[in-house]
């Protein structure tokens, strides 16, 4: 079940920096992306591509590794795919996705590369970031364009810029309003397509408090994880996205009560004076699934 893989953090590493590439995966991020797009200057696109290729070929990484390619409408996009797919990244991250056709185009190229290299068909996935109103309008089409799709992400700064506004700090009360609708629509599209939703980078490394608020906000909206560019943010983001002991305990009790009710054939169930119905059971199952994937909960046989 690749789609249910934990992706609380998706960390970027600049693709032309060997020091960053070889160390990026050791900080515990759930997923790491080697970037040959924005973090690499035009004059170094060729060297970044080579470096990422050789890193993927010769190093072993403890987590999932994706590659952010240049968009296929730029002079580098197709070459990125041609060079990097034979190194078998876990997924291709496409920036500025705007249509399902782009995804189907990339899907075909991946299919061909998998055949030529003898990789398992369908093993290389796709993650797309939405950075424009057009992309947002087509978000569901993008999310459902290929069975390789694992997640859509919002590129916050780019999106805000394309709205001719700026990304504000994601304070739960006043901040992040400019992205509120876009973030929600990303979650709707991802959920309808049955894939994950990833929030954008929070770029002020020193401001932990606002980061926590922003992560709490996007978790509440339904996101599965958040992108980041600095290892310092990983633990903070994980803390918010990982169910607490209290949440785990409650979920556990919900499922127990539900199981009892099923066994006794009783219609209505209550726990601590609160009615428990199907959505709560589903949520409890999800809490335990995330907790189990995050290694803070051991699934019991009885549930």
């Amino acid at each position: 079940m690749n789609k249910e893989r934990l992706r609380r953090t998706v960390m970027y590493a600049a693709g032309n920096n060997p020091g960053l590439i070889q160390n990026a995966a050791i900080y515990g991020a759930d997923s790491v992306i080697f970037d040959v797009e924005d973090s690499v200057s035009v004059a170094e696109k060729d060297s970044a591509r080579q470096l990422v290729y050789h890193a993927l070929k010769s190093l072993k990484f403890p987590c999932e590794i994706g590659v952010r390619i240049n968009h296929i409408s730029t002079p580098w996009g197709y070459k990125d795919l041609e060079y990097l797919l034979p190194a078998k990244p876990d997924y291709i991250r496409l920036p500025k996705g705007e249509s399902g056709d782009e995804i189907r185009d990339i899907d075909k190229i991946i299919t061909k590369a998998e055949e030529e290299c003898g990789f398992e068909p369908g093993s290389i996935k796709i993650m797309v970031s939405i950075e424009s109103p057009k992309g947002l309008r087509n978000a569901y089409e993008i999310a459902s364009a290929s069975p390789r799709m694992i997640a859509i992400a919002i590129g916050g700064e780019d999106f805000a810029a394309s709205l001719k506004t700026e990304k504000t700090r994601g304070n739960t009360i006043t901040g992040g309003r400019e992205l509120y609708v876009a973030r929600s629509m990303i979650v709707f599209a991802a959920r309808e397509a049955g894939i994950q939703a990833i929030d954008s980078v929070f770029s002020d490394m020193r401001d932990e408090e606002t980061l926590i608020n922003e992560v709490a906000l996007v978790k509440e909206l339904g996101f599965d994880g958040k992108s980041c560019v600095n290892p310092r943010q990983i633990d903070i983001i994980h803390q918010v996205f990982t169910p607490s002991d209290k949440e785990i305990d409650y979920a556990h009790r919900v499922l127990n009560v539900f199981k009892e009710a099923l066994a006794n054939n009783s219609g209505v169930i209550a726990l601590d004076g609160k009615m428990i119905d199907m959505p709560m059971v589903i949520r409890a199952e999800r809490v335990l699934a995330i907790a189990s994937a995050a290694g803070v909960y051991q699934k019991e046989e009885s549930i």
């Binding site: 920096n17 060997p18 020091g19 070889q22 696109k45 060729d46 060297s47 591509r49 080579q50 470096l51 290729y53 050789h54 890193a55 070929k57 010769s58 190093l59 002079p75 580098w76 070459k79 060079y83």
Partner: protein, 94 residues
């Protein structure tokens, strides 16, 4: 067999990287490597051999290479040498 058209370089002198400067050489002079490295005594031979092997694997028989190594792992050395060669062959890979 390929022939280098011009001098070219790739890489940086940042930590964990290597700067490769590559120039065409007269036919028959072979692949000559001049290496600067903080770990010359320990890894000098290994790094030089890797550079020569990578250059030869691209079909180049004659080249003058100056390498300034800053603790690069093998994958980085290979990648930087290949990029320098592509650039010296006049292919920017775009």
């Amino acid at each position: 067999m390929a022939k280098l058209l011009t001098a070219a370089q790739a890489g940086t002198v940042e930590s964990s990287d290597i700067l490769i400067m590559l120039a065409p050489a007269q036919a028959g002079t072979g692949i000559q490597v001049e290496l600067v490295s903080p770990t010359l005594q320990q890894y000098g031979e290994h790094i030089k051999n890797l550079i020569v092997k990578t250059v030869a694997s691209q079909g180049i028989q004659d080249a003058i290479i100056h390498a300034n190594e800053k603790g690069a792992l093998d994958y980085t050395i290979e990648a930087r040498v290949k990029t320098a060669i592509q650039r010296a062959l006049g292919e920017r890979g775009f």
